[in-house]
Symmetry: C2
Subunit: 193 residues, 2 copies
């Protein structure tokens, strides 16, 4: 998606350790008009699917997921990273390693919000090693529902998550795939056909 690639080039910052910081428009400060444009693009890319629900994981996936759900006119549900008093004990649960935070999270979703006939689009801001996405697929599978695909804002194409999950048959659409980035700030995208 041209608009997203341009924003990454103009506002993204590369840090050592393959960190791409896009917190001025994607995951700390949020460009609300960009969220809407990305949501419309996910609608176009998954137009052949009958999606009943959009799913993401807190916190930085929520903005793009709720906008996608709004455009698709379906509900959104987000998986929670820690047990809270307000979360029903009746949950599906899985474990996800966060490399950003250097710890393992219990990721949970209330059972009542995934039905076995749901066709779920998973939406997230980043795809790198794919463990968060795998965790969300696991929660959907526990419910006996279907994952119709995953809509990702930025995929780090030089990490293996995207290709590993595509090889398993998951339909992933990433709006920008970073093929290469260097500490001097150069960012190269994978061109789409």
């Amino acid at each position: 998606m041209r608009l997203l690639e341009e924003m990454i080039l103009s506002k993204g910052k590369v840090y050592p350790g393959n960190i791409l910081k896009v917190d001025s428009f994607l995951n700390h400060q949020i460009d609300s008009q960009l969220m809407f444009a990305m949501a419309q693009e996910f609608q176009r890319l998954f137009r052949d699917e009958k999606i009943t629900k959009v799913m993401t994981i807190e916190a930085s996936g929520i903005a793009i997921a709720v906008m996608t759900a709004y455009v698709m006119q379906v509900p959104m549900v987000f998986a929670k990273k820690s047990q809270t008093k307000n979360l029903s004990a009746d949950v599906y649960s899985t474990q996800v390693m966060s490399f950003t935070h250097g710890r393992v999270y219990d990721v949970k979703i209330a059972k009542e919000f995934i039905n076995s006939d749901d066709k779920i689009l998973i939406v997230d801001d980043f795809l790198a090693n794919g463990v968060a996405l795998e965790g969300l697929c696991d929660l959907v599978n526990q419910a006996g529902a279907s994952v119709v695909g995953a809509g990702i804002a930025i995929e780090k194409g030089f990490q293996d998550g995207g290709n590993r999950l595509r090889a398993k048959g998951l339909h992933i659409e990433s709006l920008a795939i970073v093929q290469e980035m260097n500490d001097n700030g150069t960012i190269k995208f994978l061109s789409k056909q």
Copy 2:
């Protein structure tokens, strides 16, 4: 706001300890169309203010905040509850007690995302004792920026946060104010003039 009150009555659940569970449409599963309607209502209520940015705190404020920012055509920024490797060291920081989670959080926002000339609307899903809202006001004040008001989905009118902060001069608009609720499920709203 009639629509929100009706959803609270039809889908909200009251639990002992004054817990109002609205996680089927507001803060776990999210009714994306309701978010848009609430955003439009905030725009109407704050139409006399020149708002430059919408601010909230992760995680459950993000959905309504990004939709409000979209309708108002401004950026949204959300305060983060814990230090992450990807968050700049150059942050404004404050402490907020979470009664839901029974712990104190460091709440942070990158300095670069609040400018001294910003006029900020704070948006959140709940207002009860007001400590989260006060924390967000504190972050804005540290930046020398202005809080033009706070747009809240549900205010627990029987807790003191709303009135305490109104007495300090904060312009708060709550779309539903719960005046009374009982374990048998009765919920009474404060009627607006």
